[in-house]
């Protein structure tokens, strides 16, 4: 592997990873089993699978919050150490600081990393304008709509120039129209960065509209069922791309794979979802 030139080293590599949890009740549960995934530099990868199958666990492994029980997780060719400054994370839930206004929320990352105040605020103002929230710098999160809060969350993450962007169903709480707008917003910001993205979602259309490759997981314990290349041209407009014949055809093929797993997943106890969330 050391023979490879730097640009060919995969950004993220999961090799034969398994992850077991022990529930508070003392029984052990397997969330991931023999899981392999490779994300190349600047690639957008989506992970879809039935609810509670262990999708989010993959992200915890990449951030180093959780360690694999067996197998190896490598970031930029090196084992994960935890708290990598190159990693950005957009949460499913609202993770903005409610006591900080938009400006100080967006500036949080640079300030934590020791950037001088004026510089951090200037960068924050720049990013607030880029996500279309100029004029809302002094607003508090509770004064914004769900979509606007997600814009703030994107600015808060992208201001740190992450090389690796992990997203855990970031738009699942938004209404359908807002979600489509946010997907386009994400694609436009991402296209001007060189970040590698792992985007976890249960929405198959969202996965196809955004990603270069789609990983379909089995119902828990999750392993890779199939990987699909999405050869749709970029730049994409997510509201329109879903009517293209290639999109429809691909989404039918993937859904054929996914359907059985969703059925299996529905029969699986909700226990695992709870266990993975606390881990």
């Amino acid at each position: 592997m050391s023979a490879l030139p730097v640009e060919d080293v995969p950004t993220i590599e999961l090799v034969g990873v398994s992850r077991r949890f022990v529930t508070p009740g003392g029984t052990s549960l397997t969330a991931l089993r023999d899981f392999d995934m490779t994300v190349r530099r600047g690639e957008f990868v989506a992970v879809v699978g039935p609810t509670g199958c262990g999708k989010s666990t993959t992200l915890s492994l990449i951030t180093g919050i959780a360690a694999p029980t067996t197998g190896q997780v490598r970031v930029m060719g090196k084992p994960v150490t935890g708290n990598d400054p190159r990693v950005g994370f957009v949460f499913q839930t609202d993770a903005l600081f409610p006591w900080r206004n938009v400006l100080r929320n967006v500036a949080a990352g640079p300030l934590y990393r020791g950037m001088p105040k004026e510089k951090a605020y200037a960068a924050a103002r720049d990013w607030i304008a880029r996500v279309g929230l100029a004029g809302f710098e002094q607003h508090y999160p509770h004064q914004l709509s769900g979509g606007m809060r997600k814009r703030v969350a994107l600015a808060q993450t992208f201001i740190n120039n992450p090389e690796i962007l992990l997203m855990d169903e970031p738009f699942s709480a938004l209404d359908v129209q807002t979600r489509v707008v946010m997907q386009d917003e994400l694609l436009s910001i991402w296209s001007s960065s060189n970040a590698s993205v792992v985007f976890v979602t249960h929405d198959l259309e969202e996965a196809i509209a955004l990603a270069d490759r789609v990983y379909v997981l089995t119902a828990g314990p999750a392993t890779v069922k199939a990987v699909y290349d999405v050869n749709l041209p970029r730049p994409r407009v997510t509201a329109e791309i879903r009517y293209e014949p290639a999109f429809v055809e691909l989404s039918r093929r993937i859904w054929d794979d996914l359907r059985d797993e969703v059925r299996l997943g529905a029969a699986r106890p909700a226990q695992l979802a709870a266990a993975t969330r606390t881990a």
Partner: protein
């Protein structure tokens, strides 16, 4: 254009009509409040004057007012009234500040450290179950009749309330906010100062409200148990003289102090928590 005019006029009329409702309601509430006060005080006065109740034991509003008037103009048996108030207030505020700071610091440290919390939880529980007022006797014996014993009692009264709330507030801090701060690059210390403390702040401020009252109780009971000055001593003296109107008058002074402090704390709380969405009861005011 006429359509616009009509719409805006009817809008304004609707707004006026909507504003009139709460205003009338506020007037009714205030009138009823005053009526209750008049009936209560008038009934008391009347019952005492007709000797339905014995004014020697239960006093009556006019006697209490006269007592207050005397204290304000001529001072109490221990000196001027404001001097006594100042002594009690000083003990209360010092005890409150020390107890609150200790409670907040201990609450945050134990809330952040699981091992410390597990080790100390048993002792905190035991200490908390002691009727703390009893400690006042120990403090008077150990620290004397001066200010220290009252401050110590106020500290003990305040500490456990604030500690409990700060601890709970830290424990309830949103996990995803902490995770977000960590990923954005915050050190553990930065997580504590920029996430944990603000998250626990509404819990802590709520406890400060309650605990100022406790500090006052601590100071007054401390004076009761043995002192040379203060409103507690004044009450104790009036009790010894079989003068109920003196006890009631001192009570009214204490209530005024407590209400003023509560108002100041509410003001400080609103200044500190501007980020919170306004509660529905506030929007009408």
């Amino acid at each position: 254009m006429t359509v616009d005019g009509i719409v805006s006029v009817s809008d304004r009329a609707a707004e006026r009509a909507a504003a009139a409702g709460p205003r009338r309601r506020r007037r009714i509430v205030n009138a009823l409040r005053i009526a209750i006060l008049v009936v209560f005080l008038g009934g008391w006065e009347l019952a005492a004057r007709t000797h339905l109740i014995d004014p020697f034991f239960f006093a009556m509003p006019s006697m209490i007012a006269a007592q207050l008037w005397t204290w304000i103009n001529e001072g109490t048996s221990q000196g001027p009234l404001w001097g006594e108030v100042l002594v009690t207030l000083e003990e209360t505020v010092i005890g409150f500040v020390i107890g609150a700071v200790l409670g907040i610091v201990c609450g945050i440290v134990l809330g952040r450290d699981k091992l410390l919390a597990d080790v100390f939880s048993i002792y905190i529980k035991v200490a908390n179950s002691i009727p703390r007022i009893v400690l006042g006797s120990i403090f008077v014996i150990a620290l004397g009749l001066g200010m220290q014993s009252k401050v110590a009692l106020a500290v003990v009264m305040v500490f456990f309330v604030v500690f409990g709330n700060a601890f709970q507030g830290v424990r309830e801090a949103d996990r995803s906010l902490i995770a977000n701060a960590r990923i954005l690059g915050a050190s553990p210390w930065q997580v504590t100062t920029t996430v944990i403390v603000p998250a626990a702040m509404s819990w802590i401020l709520a406890s400060l409200h309650v605990s100022f009252g406790f500090a006052l109780v601590g100071a007054v009971v401390g004076e009761f148990l043995g002192s040379r000055h203060g409103l507690g001593l004044l009450i104790s003296t009036e009790q010894g003289l079989f003068n109920p109107s003196g006890v009631f008058a001192a009570m009214i002074v204490l209530a005024a102090v407590a209400l003023t402090a509560d108002y100041l704390l509410s003001w400080a709380e609103n200044r500190l928590l501007t980020w919170r969405p306004p509660s529905f009861s506030d929007t009408g005011a």
